[in-house]
């Protein structure tokens, strides 16, 4: 008895230690980033100031005064919010139809949607730029960024929603039909309230993906619709890297999303495990 209890106690300590190590390992880059953001560009590359240095707010002041941080931040918020709303507005009815009125080829459609994620983005860079700039004339607009972010995230959002909707007993939806509701009524009165947790975590994840997207937001914008990703990209100055400045910009770009993630941990875990963890 004593031996079993003791060994399981050691096991507990071992697991806890391991969890801390892994956790810190993942946390370290963020910590490093924040630390560096309080150093001057000169101090940032000097090993002797690794941990002990005179902190300065110079980078942050510089960023808000000279680089127009708030405009980029506003663009990030606008594009991410609207892209998330639009993705859900299309994704919910779509996933609903596939979950409750499957046709013979529904599974294939789902697979096909996922397969679009496998297309290398670089492969369509030129056509996308040409099309949006020279033909449609929507280059560097919020509209374009919102559409692109929506389309990028649509497959994963539909997959997630589909998985959540599948868990709702079919009879409950059918009871709704028998009770005299039409399709929109079913979605509004039954589906959304019942799948609320799943929809919220899907929305959160979609928002984070939109916020973090860098490939297209950097390439399809210049100034008007440029997001925080573009701000980071823009601070990779040709004269060499200004680590202090870059770190401040990066910290200010990932900051909001880290805070958001922190407050919504539970939904996020649920979202990423498709509700497997109850």
């Amino acid at each position: 008895m004593a031996i079993v209890a003791q060994s399981s106690k050691y096991g507990q300590i071992g697991r806890t230690t391991l969890a801390w190590i892994v956790g810190l390992l993942f946390f370290f880059p963020i910590f490093w980033l924040v630390l560096t953001s309080f150093k001057t560009d000169a101090d940032a590359v000097k090993p002797e100031f690794l941990l002990f240095f005179t902190p300065t707010l110079e980078n942050y002041v510089n960023m808000t005064e000279n680089y127009d941080y708030w405009r980029f931040a506003r663009n990030s918020v606008i594009t991410s919010v609207f892209a998330t709303v639009f993705t859900l507005a299309v994704g919910i009815p779509c996933a609903y139809a596939m979950a409750f009125n499957p046709a013979r080829r529904t599974k294939d459609v789902l697979m096909w949607m996922l397969s679009t994620k496998m297309l290398p983005a670089a492969g369509v860079l030129y056509p996308m730029t040409f099309l949006t700039k020279n033909i449609l004339g929507i280059f560097d607009t919020h509209f374009l960024v919102i559409i692109v972010l929506s389309l990028i995230n649509m497959p994963i959002v539909i997959w997630m929603l589909f998985t959540y909707f599948k868990e709702i007993p079919r009879e409950i939806i059918e009871a709704g039909k028998m009770d005299g509701v039409n399709t929109w009524g079913e979605i509004r009165e039954i589906l959304i309230p019942l799948a609320w947790g799943g929809i919220a975590s899907t929305a959160l994840l979609c928002f984070i993906f939109c916020w973090n997207e860098a490939y297209w937001t950097v390439r399809l914008t210049t100034t008007d619709a440029a997001t925080l990703s573009k701000l980071i990209e823009g601070n990779r100055a040709p004269e060499g890297l200004f680590f202090g400045r870059l770190s401040a910009v990066s910290a200010a770009a990932v900051g909001p999303i880290v805070v958001l993630g922190w407050f919504c941990q539970k939904q996020l875990v649920q979202g990423l495990t498709f509700g497997a963890v109850k």
Binding site: I172, A175, K177, M178, D179, G180, G185, E189, I190, L194
Partner: protein
């Protein structure tokens, strides 16, 4: 008003046809029960009437109107599901109010109907609970409440009591029967349970592999089964079917005799055999008799108790006017 007619209705899932062309009329105010072995298409037929499945061909008529293309929400029927299918996020009150709210009924009217339904179903104390906080019987009563408040043209029940324990089942069976007597609305009821079928139905529809084997009143089916399948299906314990020379003596390919129409003696009788298992229920005794040379086993039901035990020699005599005769195709002669 709720007369329901199925005209040449068929249903296929992919390439498999589960309902071959089928015709059926259920009169206004009738209590019709669908019975049949598992997988014979009872639920499918009910769902075709409800509109939850599309007919592959043929038509469904309600009160003379073709509703084949009409969506379930517009057919004016109410359905009670085996799994209750309550809305888990709404209280009992909201569950019952839901169909009325969807039809745009005034709040005051809704409240009046909720109170009336809750009273008749003993739910008054539970109106503010969520379905998760109710027992199975209470949940099924909520489901029934949700169905009655909208004055449907007909009620559809798909094995509504099969998730309840035996005692509760008897109680709910009576409640539903009373409800039918009081409201006089057409009801279609799917069940596995012989007793439910026999006691509740005005009309029983016996199905096998999507085909209607017989339609009739419970006693019709009991006394005059049209074929061997119905004979074996209706009645519990099952009718004994005998195919040996004994059948030929009656100029039939098969004869059937119900367990309750055999008399038992320890001294003499028409057939003899040995007792296998004797099941003593107190009010009745079921005796399984072997080695009769008539069938693998003959079941006898006698009322009261009888002192027989395993291995006893026993004589059986059928009541002459209770012998059912069937031809080589299994049809009643």
């Amino acid at each position: 008003m709720g007369k329901i007619v199925l005209e040449n209705v068929t249903k296929s899932f992919g390439d498999t046809q589960v309902i071959p062309p089928l015709n059926l009329t259920i009169e206004d105010g009738e209590f019709a029960v669908f019975v049949g072995p598992s997988g014979c298409g009872k639920s499918t037929l009910l769902r075709l009437i409800a509109g939850l499945e599309d007919c592959t061909s043929g038509d469904v008529l309600i009160n003379g109107d073709v509703v084949t293309q009409v969506s379930p929400s517009k057919r004016g029927l109410a359905m009670v599901f085996q799994t209750y299918a309550l809305y888990p996020h709404m209280t009992v009150r909201k569950n019952i109010a839901f169909p009325m709210r969807m039809s745009g009924m005034s709040e005051a009217e809704q409240e009046k109907k909720i109170q009336a339904a809750a009273e008749s179903l003993n739910l008054t104390d539970y109106l503010d609970r969520k379905p998760g906080q109710l027992s199975g019987g209470q949940r099924q009563r909520v489901a029934i409440g949700r169905a009655i408040v909208r004055d449907p043209k007909a009620f559809l029940f798909d094995e509504p009591l099969s998730n309840l324990d035996a005692a509760l089942r008897v109680g709910m069976r009576l409640e539903i029967s009373e409800m039918h007597a009081r409201m006089g609305t057409t009801m279609i009821y799917v069940t596995h349970d012989q007793v439910e079928a026999m006691t509740m139905a005005d009309k029983i529809v016996v199905l096998q592999a999507g085909v209607i084997e017989q339609v009739g009143s419970p006693l019709d089916l009991y006394h005059k089964p049209q074929n061997e399948f119905v004979a074996g299906f209706i009645g519990s314990p099952k009718m004994n079917l005998i195919k040996t020379d004994e059948a030929a003596k009656h100029n039939a390919a098969t004869i059937g005799i119900r367990p309750e129409h055999l008399t038992v003696s320890t001294t003499d009788g028409a057939w003899k055999g040995t007792v296998g298992v004797a099941e003593h229920l107190g009010s009745d005794t079921f005796i399984h008799v072997h080695d009769t040379g008539l069938a693998d086993m003959i079941t006898v039901r006698i009322s009261g108790d009888i002192a027989v035990k395993h291995g006893d020699r026993i004589f059986l005599t059928p009541e002459a006017d209770q012998i059912h005769k069937f031809d080589a195709n299994g049809l009643r002669i």
